[in-house]
């Protein structure tokens, strides 16, 4: 009965209630959506790292990571591998050799980390192959009699394997894409130019185009000027087992883009079988084993279990390899909750004010109710319920709106393109897909109810203090 009455009471002053409800809706919606965006960014980053870069666990010789000394191979590899695969929680494993070397093209050279892999096994553990830039090839899929290498976008640009050039083709396709004539004229001054580097290209464009033109057409021009030659050649030089220099020409099988500039600059993936002939290492000699688990939640447990079984090796999980990732996921949960609490506290003021007014304007009515014998507890509860209803209606509407919007944007994502450089350098994609867990919604619901309850305490107490006789006499 109280519930029905309380509900009806809420709607007695439609305008006032709507204002409160609206404020709760906006607060909840704003809060949840902001949290969803942050959460999405972080989840993406962690996923990307886990799926494309490091996976869950790395196993290597204890001294290996100090200087990546190629002599430090894993002892007794077959035994170790079978032990790992038998461990519960382990889904797949890929072995790697890692050697520092130089990559050269006709015009540029740079230091790289050459990773010898078994492509089939690699695909079971990491999804890097999914990030191949369309048109640049594939992840060792196509049969070839050459030695193949799979490199990152940043490295390809650094080595001038990917170049920016403006020639008639580019100008023509830009014309088709409706680039303004004056702009085309400016660009035709560069016709036939192949730019020395991405930096040089950007510099020239900045010099030739106005700021407005850059903002409007910069991305398009860059996209059209981007050029890549399939199966480009690159030499890799490094030291073999006997510390003698060796190397060979490799052809690019594909270029990957994972929005993490640091990783893309340094890693070159090649087939381990191609490397063996050059390094003199035997088929079963590896530097590192990368393990993927069935579930990220099993990380801690599996790490401990592996450490017990393989005491002579260094076992590192992703939280230890990249502590900043761990920090983000762990610390940030607390932050979300605090943020919602703050918003709800702000909302509480409005609710208290409203409820107070409700109580004061219904003094006569409340006085009468008490006079006819409604016990104080029920009065208190009724007021509390009204408060809770106010908050909940607003809260539910807010949550529904945010759920819809999150649902919409989670597939298309939100583009933070202008911040792209900063984002990508840090390893975050600039295109964020908001996401939020159901448990968060539940937490928010609970918090809203609590807010409703807490805000009603003061006004309800006021209502109880009313002297029925006094109240009846009020106008």
């Amino acid at each position: 009965m109280i519930w029905k009455t309380a509900w009806k009471n809420v709607w007695r002053n439609k305008v006032r209630s709507m204002v409160v409800i609206a404020s709760v809706t906006i607060g909840i919606f704003g809060g949840i959506f902001a949290v969803a965006v942050m959460n999405g960014a972080i989840a993406q980053r962690v996923d990307a790292a886990l799926n494309e870069e490091i996976s869950h666990i790395h196993i290597n010789d204890p001294a290996f990571r100090d200087n990546y000394d190629m002599q430090l191979i894993i002892a007794d590899p077959e035994q170790v591998i079978s032990t790992i695969l038998e461990t519960p929680g382990v889904a797949a494993l890929t072995p790697r050799t890692m050697i520092a070397g130089m990559a050269n093209t006709a015009t540029k050279s740079t230091g790289v980390q050459i990773i010898g892999i078994a492509p089939e096994k690699e695909k079971e553990v990491l999804k890097l192959y999914d990030t191949t830039i369309p048109g640049t090839g594939d992840f060792f899929e196509t049969e070839s009699r050459y030695k193949l290498a799979y490199i990152g976008h940043e490295l390809a640009k650094e080595l001038n394997i990917i170049r920016y050039r403006i020639d008639q083709d580019v100008l023509d396709s830009l014309a088709v894409k409706n680039l303004p004539v004056e702009l085309l004229d400016k660009l035709s001054a560069f016709s036939g130019t192949r730019f020395k580097s991405e930096k040089a290209f950007k510099k020239e464009m900045k010099g030739a185009l106005s700021l407005k033109e850059q903002n409007a057409y910069g991305a398009l021009i860059k996209e059209e000027a981007w050029s890549f030659r399939a199966r480009s050649k690159m030499t890799l030089t490094f030291l073999d087992k006997e510390q003698i220099q060796t190397g060979a020409v490799f052809r690019i099988t594909g270029v990957f883009d994972i929005k993490n500039s640091m990783y893309e600059m340094s890693q070159v993936l090649v087939k381990n079988e191609d490397m063996m002939g050059l390094t003199g290492m035997a088929p079963n000699e590896y530097h590192q084993l990368v393990v993927r688990l069935n579930d990220t939640e099993l990380t801690e447990k599996t790490t401990t279990s592996l450490r017990e079984k393989l005491p002579g090796l260094e076992i590192m999980n992703w939280k230890e390899i990249q502590p900043d990732l761990a920090m983000m996921t762990d610390m940030v949960q607390n932050f979300y909750a605090i943020f919602m609490v703050v918003i709800l506290a702000a909302l509480a003021f409005g609710i208290v004010n409203t409820m107070l007014m409700v109580v004061l304007e219904r003094t006569k009515e409340l006085g009468m109710l008490t006079a006819i014998g409604m016990n104080k507890k029920r009065v208190f509860r009724m007021i509390m319920l009204e408060s809770v209803f106010l908050s909940m209606v607003g809260g539910v509407v807010g949550m529904i709106i945010s759920k819809i919007l999150i649902g919409l944007t989670s597939s298309t994502g939100i583009n933070f393109a202008s911040y792209a450089e900063g984002f990508e350098a840090l390893g975050f994609a600039a295109h964020i897909y908001p996401e939020i867990s159901t448990s968060f919604f539940i937490t928010v619901t609970v918090l809203i109810i609590l807010t409703g309850i807490l805000s009603s305490i003061y006004p309800a107490l006021k209502a109880l203090k009313l002297d029925p006789a006094e109240a009846l006499r009020t106008e």
Partner: protein, 471 residues
């Protein structure tokens, strides 16, 4: 009676509502100011750390150096230029550096390293490299000594071997690793420090000698007193070759740098690369590091340097960090925006209630002859006063907290503390004073109030007195 007095009196007619509404404004303002202070304090702390330990706020470089960091793109540094620069009001010190790449060898093993030629006394303004020398090391001999020492408790003896070969730049880190609580520290630490002490010599201008990163020294299996050989390409394609006695070991918090860094005295480094008198960069330490002061300094210095050099400021040299700061900033602003939006609704709610409650009163006033304009202005003043009340209290309380926090930052302990230490930062959450931000808060509050007032004002102007009297 004066409108203001009327407005003020009206406020206190419904004390509770006035207080609650201003309380909500107080809450928002307080929160906004404190959050901003913490945010700026954190940036300052984190980024200042990064900037001040490496690039500094302003650098003078050869015009082409930033795009192509080669030995050939170095500039000549002479006394005259130094005098000019130090004469600037905002410059406290000029720190010269010569950085390049070389191969370090111990004979059979060769490794690419980063060579930094520094003026050791000047670096206290910037990288404070002297503080990063390894002062304690848990070598097997030190551990043996600790185990034999009767004054040291068992649990410390058990922990010590776990950290074998670890190098420490501070006693406090050693204390942390050995899990010695602060109260026992002054009793136990002196003995432990004595057992684990590692003497470092200094490097000085004019004396050949090197400081080497801990991980690099371990890889090349070289220690203090051993010789490190450096080979590279010098100025104008000459050969750079030199051998130096290792005078000390340093430990840089970033392992990627620690395993490839070699410090040489500036003049020795210049000689190595056949670029005597040249620098790759001149970093400036400044008195005031606020944006305006820096911009001013950059402008003044630019006029004093020769044409082949240019001035760079920290934003250009730390683009990634700046993007990150911007993104953080925007994120924070959005959150505050949501907060204020919520409060704005609260104010609107209050105003609504106010208006409907006092409809009759308004009717009466107008009926007895008060001009609608006057009524409107009284209402406006009332709301403004509520806003100002909340604002004032918010500002006062927030300022008090901020001023306290600036001198007493929140110190982190435990895991979080360790993480900060990894990056070479003190584990604290810092506050910062936020001058101009107050103004924006005031503007926001006033704007909110004025917006909310629109409703009652409309009601007043459109009011039909007859209806109002019947309310």
């Amino acid at each position: 009676m004066n409108n203001l007095k009327l407005a003020w009196r009206n406020l206190w007619r419904n004390r509770r509502r006035t207080l609650i509404t201003s309380a909500s404004i107080f809450f928002a303002v307080f929160f906004a100011l404190v959050m901003r202070s913490i945010q700026l304090g954190s940036y300052d702390h984190m980024y200042k750390n990064a900037i001040e330990s490496y690039t500094g706020y302003i650098q003078i470089q050869h015009r082409d150096f930033w795009d192509e960091k080669t030995v050939d793109n170095t500039f000549t540094y002479d006394k005259y230029l130094e005098k000019q620069i130090l004469a600037d009001e905002n410059v406290t010190a000029a720190i010269p550096r010569f950085e390049s790449f070389a191969l370090a060898s111990n004979g059979p093993q060769t490794k690419g390293v980063l060579v930094m030629g520094i003026a050791p006394e000047k670096e206290i303004h910037l990288s404070k490299i002297r503080d990063k020398t390894v002062k304690f090391r848990l070598t097997s001999e030190s551990i043996a000594k600790i185990e034999e020492d009767p004054s040291i408790p068992e649990k410390v003896k058990e922990l010590a071997p776990l950290f074998e070969n670890n190098a420490y730049t501070t006693a406090s880190r050693l204390q942390l690793d050995l899990d010695i609580p602060d109260k026992e520290a002054h009793v136990l630490m002196p003995a432990i420090e004595a057992h684990a002490r590692s003497e470092n010599g200094s490097i000085a201008m004019g004396e050949p000698g090197a400081w080497v990163g801990d991980k690099l020294a371990q890889y090349l299996q070289l220690g203090i007193g051993d010789t490190i050989v450096l080979i590279g390409q010098g100025y104008h394609a000459t050969t750079a070759a030199g051998k130096y006695e290792i005078k000390g070991i340093v430990k840089i918090p970033l392992p990627d740098i620690d395993n490839k860094i070699v410090y040489l005295p500036l003049d020795i480094c210049q000689e190595l690369y056949n670029a005597q008198g040249n620098l790759t960069s001149l970093a400036l330490a400044v008195k005031d590091n606020k944006d305006k002061a820096i911009a001013g300094t950059v402008e003044r210095i630019s006029t004093k340097i020769p044409g082949d050099q240019k001035v760079m400021e920290w934003r250009e040299m730390n683009e990634v960090m700046v993007s990150q700061m911007d993104a953080d900033d925007k994120g924070g602003q959005i959150m505050l925006g949501i907060l204020y939006l919520v409060i704005a609704f609260g104010i609107f709610g209050t105003v609504l209630m106010l208006t409907s409650e006092r409809k009759r009163e308004f009717g009466v006033l107008v009926a007895i002859g008060m001009q609608k304009k006057k009524l409107a202005s009284i209402m406006t003043l009332e709301m403004l006063l509520i806003g100002l009340l909340g604002l004032l209290v918010g500002v006062v309380v927030a300022s008090a907290l901020i001023l306290y926090g600036v001198d007493h930052p929140i110190i982190f302990k435990g895991e979080t503390a360790k993480m900060f230490a990894e990056y070479g930062m003190e584990p604290k959450m810092a506050f910062m004073t936020i001058g101009s931000y107050y103004i924006s808060q005031i503007v926001i509050v006033v704007a909110m109030v004025l917006l909310a007032i629109g409703y009652p004002l409309r009601k007043i102007t459109g009011m039909k007195v007859v209806n109002a009297l019947r309310a």
